[in-house]
């Protein structure tokens, strides 16, 4: 449901250059591009399907389509590659929905779908359970009820940061610090639980964000 557990690196390169290398048959360039764009594709697909397992499958399909295309065709507008990738991912979801709709007219296929859905549901529930356990710990560790309230209003109720700051009497930097600590702790607990890869990356990402706040 949430995201894959693969290590993600922020590899800086130009799309024009990597596309050229892929067209020249550089397999390493294919790997570099996949590593760069897979997390975003996965999140798009999760948004559209609400199903991590299906999102993973469709992410692989998206990557295959993109790399196959780059092997044979140069990029006209390299800067627009991310938008193009996102559009392919969305199109694949549309195609998958149409396919599922057709499958549901077939009784035998429906039975297979139910089994698959059950398995995906279990994985989803396990991930939710894990998230619930860790966020509960984070909340319990927060001494201030105000800070707990902040976390819930921001992440669960999707309330606006400025409204929360005003109502709780917080400055925006204070808000960011509380949020940053809570997120860091959450990821730390998830990591202790055995998750790695993307979570480790998230920690690095949060450290970068923290550095930005401190320098301001």
């Amino acid at each position: 449901m949430f995201g894959h557990d693969r290590a993600v690196q922020n590899i800086d390169f130009s799309y024009a250059e990597v596309a050229q290398r892929i067209r020249e048959g550089d397999k390493q360039a294919e790997g570099v591009l996949s590593q760069r764009i897979a997390p975003g594709i996965t999140q798009i697909l999760i948004s559209l399907t609400g199903n991590f397992a299906q999102a993973q499958e469709l992410c692989q399909e998206t990557l295959i389509i993109i790399i196959s295309r780059l092997r044979v065709q140069p990029l006209d507008e390299p800067d627009k590659l991310p938008a193009f990738v996102a559009q392919i991912a969305r199109n694949l979801v549309g195609a998958e929905r149409r396919k599922e709709h057709r499958r549901k007219t077939d009784v035998d296929s429906e039975a297979i779908d139910q089994v698959a859905d059950q398995s995906q549901g279990q994985e989803y529930e396990a991930q939710r359970e894990s998230a619930a356990v860790e966020i509960r710990k984070v909340l319990a560790e927060m001494k201030s009820v105000r800070d707990r309230s902040l976390l819930v209003r921001y992440y669960l109720r999707d309330e606006d940061k400025k409204d929360i700051c005003r109502e709780l009497g917080l400055t925006e930097p204070s808000f960011n610090v509380i949020l940053f600590r809570a997120r860091s702790r959450f990821l730390e607990l998830l990591q202790k639980r055995g998750l790695s890869g993307e979570d480790l990356f998230c920690l690095t990402f949060l450290a970068v964000i923290a550095a930005q706040y401190w320098w301001k």
Partner: protein, 215 residues
């Protein structure tokens, strides 16, 4: 789109972006794995909070938890005080009753003095008898001591019927040869009492008397 365009990430997860904004954000997310990681964390936290809320585990965490223990702490402290006060009262008023009956002049403040009695050693066989009203006010005892210059005196009032019970006070100085002490009748029952006065040198004078306390 900048890396720290987090309000957009908030709205993306909340599903409040327009179609055009979604397209721009998703393109940025493909380009920047950091943004995808941020969305991933937000989704996890949100899912965890949703599950806690479904199970009714969220509300207790948001309740002013500090108030409840604070209240309990105050209640516990009050309970301890009551118990301590109870023990103190038992010790002070039970073991040494009539505890607050005997008061030095410095302790009476503006309290009303309803009667004056004198205690002196005489050759008469019987102990003097005094009639007091329980709620009329304090009773002043003027005690004729043998050695007025030996002040301060330690005074002890003993109730004969309650063997071992007594109360102490101190008379810092005498006036015209009399040591003055005050008795609060509200703390006393009718009966035989002995007022004993001890000087610093250890000489003790005892003054038995009978007290009749009427309502």
């Amino acid at each position: 789109m900048k890396l720290n365009d987090l309000p957009t990430a908030e709205r993306y997860v909340a599903g409040t972006l327009s179609d055009e904004e979604v397209a721009r954000f998703e393109a940025a997310m493909v380009d920047r794995p950091q943004l995808a990681a941020d969305v991933n964390v937000r989704r996890r936290i949100k899912a965890g909070l949703e599950l806690l809320e479904q199970r009714g585990q969220l509300a207790p965490l948001l309740a002013p938890a500090s108030q409840r223990p604070q209240f309990l702490r105050y209640a516990a402290a009050a309970a301890v005080l009551v118990v301590v006060a109870g023990f103190w009262g038992t010790w002070r008023y039970g073991a040494t009753s009539p505890a607050a009956a005997l008061l030095a002049s410095s302790e009476i403040g503006a309290a009303k003095v309803a009667a004056n009695f004198m205690l002196a050693r005489t050759r008469a066989a019987g102990a003097p008898e005094f009639n007091v009203k329980r709620d009329a006010g304090l009773v002043r005892f003027r005690i004729l001591v043998d050695n007025a210059g030996d002040a301060p005196f330690a005074v002890r009032l003993t109730a004969a019927e309650q063997s071992g019970t007594f109360t102490d006070s101190t008379i810092p100085q005498t006036s015209d040869g009399f040591a003055e002490i005050y008795v609060d009748p509200r703390e006393l029952n009718s009966g035989d009492y002995v007022m004993s006065v001890s000087s610093q040198s250890g000489a003790e004078q005892r003054f038995p008397f009978k007290l009749h306390v009427s309502p």
